[in-house]
């Protein structure tokens, strides 16, 4: 098996391993930008098993694999596959793992990636399981912070849906390895569940954006989904106060960076896109070199 075995949860990686991947990702940037060619994964095949819709994650894995000379097979439409005929996930994984050198999986049920790994002969990479883990997103988030700001003495606000966002859950765990100050900014009904704070050492507190905007280096936004609210009116009333535009950033530090796992709906006004704070599209790009680093380590 490869250096990292499977990549199921960010907890599977030590701080040194995380820093190693971030460093390696940097060396892949020229390949991710298409400025250079690499054949290190030539004759290697990756399977994307997506039981839930995804654009960025699936495409960036595909871009990363192909950028390193490898190839990708996709299982996207659940209806079109044998899963719709009643095959278990265990069987699907057992079969597909015999075709390929690694599997990327996204599934709506929590714990699926760990279960898939038990049934796979090749490394499994978790690309999100329910409200659970999404470790490659976390690694690209850390990479973005490290590149565009700094992981040292970071003051970060996590804003929006902190209850259901798996991106946030994974990121908090990883950030605490770097002694951050973390502010949680969310509606009461979407507060971070207590279980995610258990066993986490760190300076974590609840705040409103106005109180801390002049202090933070990183503002990490997430989407507040309509379906989390009992009715449209409640959604509009609550979600409205978790949106930002250029006015909300009047008192922000000059070096503040704004991140978002995307897709955004209207929580970041388009007027913010042109400011030097906006790093969310760059963040999406960093998904490619980071996933190149992960694939190059995991596929033999």
């Amino acid at each position: 098996m490869s250096r990292f075995g499977h990549l199921i949860s960010i907890d599977d990686l030590s701080k040194d391993e995380i820093l190693y991947i971030l460093k390696k990702a940097e060396s892949f940037e020229p390949f991710a930008k298409g400025m250079d060619k690499s054949r290190i994964l030539e004759n290697r095949l990756l399977a994307n098993l997506f039981f839930e819709p995804s654009t960025r994650t699936r495409m960036s894995f595909e871009a990363a694999m192909k950028g390193l000379g490898g190839d990708v097979i996709n299982m996207t439409a659940q209806e079109a596959s044998s899963v719709a005929k009643g095959e278990t996930l265990a069987d699907t994984v057992r079969v597909v793992s015999r075709y390929v050198n690694a599997i990327v999986i996204r599934h709506p049920l929590e714990g699926t990636a760990r279960f898939a790994a038990e049934n796979s002969d090749v490394p499994v990479i978790n690309a999100g399981d329910g409200a659970g883990q999404h470790p490659t997103q976390t690694l690209l988030d850390l990479y973005t912070i490290n590149k565009e700001s700094s992981l040292k003495n970071i003051k970060i606000a996590l804003m929006g849906d902190l209850k259901y966002s798996r991106t946030v859950h994974s990121l908090i765990k990883a950030l605490t390895l770097f002694n951050p100050r973390i502010y949680l900014v969310s509606p009461d009904s979407l507060r971070l569940p207590e279980e995610f704070l258990e066993g986490i050492d760190g300076d974590i507190s609840f705040a409103s954006l106005g109180e801390i905007i002049d202090e933070i280096n990183v503002l990490y936004m997430t989407r507040i989904q309509k379906e989390r609210f009992p009715d449209e009116e409640e959604y509009r009333r609550v979600a409205g106060s978790y949106k930002i535009d250029v006015n909300s950033l009047k008192n922000a530090r000059e070096d503040l960076i704004i991140m978002h796992p995307l897709p955004r709906v209207d929580e970041i006004h388009h007027s913010v896109d042109g400011t030097p704070h906006a790093k969310y599209f760059q963040q999406a790009f960093y998904g490619v070199p980071v996933r190149m680093a992960i694939l190059s380590e995991m596929i033999e």
């Binding site: 996930l89 265990a90 049920l109 714990g111 699926t112 279960f115 329910g130 279980e195």
Partner: protein, 153 residues
């Protein structure tokens, strides 16, 4: 000795004593004894106890239950003691120990957990003590169970 008044001695088998009162039925379920089992079983509930106020007792005749199996009881009855009986005498006496991992007994309360799907999967939980309370954590989705009684299969 209230228990002698309640249930007679057994010649050979396993006696599970000091079960938290009201949990005897759950104990039987955990060690897999039901109407399909052949061993005679006697059970006493709410027996007066000096240490516990009241307790339950279970006696399984003609069967020596393994320590591994018995340790599962500690999930719901951490004070339980085991007496293995031969010729009406106690051959061995021990307390149950909390296992580190438990398989198959509990169901995950998270409806969105892969273990609650139709996949061929063995439910597995890590067991720990937190502030004197037994806590089970799902190996697959990390959900914690504190009120364990409710999730025994």
């Amino acid at each position: 000795m209230g228990e002698q008044l309640t249930i007679t001695k057994i010649k050979e088998g396993t006696v599970i004593d000091h079960i938290d009162s009201g949990k005897a039925v759950l104990v039987l379920r955990i060690i897999g004894i039901d109407h399909q089992s052949t061993e005679p079983v006697s059970m006493a509930m709410n027996v007066p106890s000096k240490k516990m106020g009241k307790k339950d007792i279970v006696k399984v005749e003609g069967k020596f239950i393994s320590a591994e199996e018995l340790n599962k009881i500690s999930l719901i009855a951490p004070k339980a003691t085991i007496n293995l009986i031969k010729d009406f005498e106690i051959q061995k006496k021990f307390r149950v120990n909390l296992p580190e991992v438990i398989e198959g007994i509990l169901t995950c309360p998270n409806r969105n957990c892969i273990t609650n799907s139709r996949e061929p999967i063995t439910r597995r939980f890590y067991i720990t003590l937190e502030e004197n309370q037994v806590v089970a954590k799902c190996y697959y989705c990390n959900r914690k169970i504190v009120d364990i009684d409710r999730y025994v299969i």
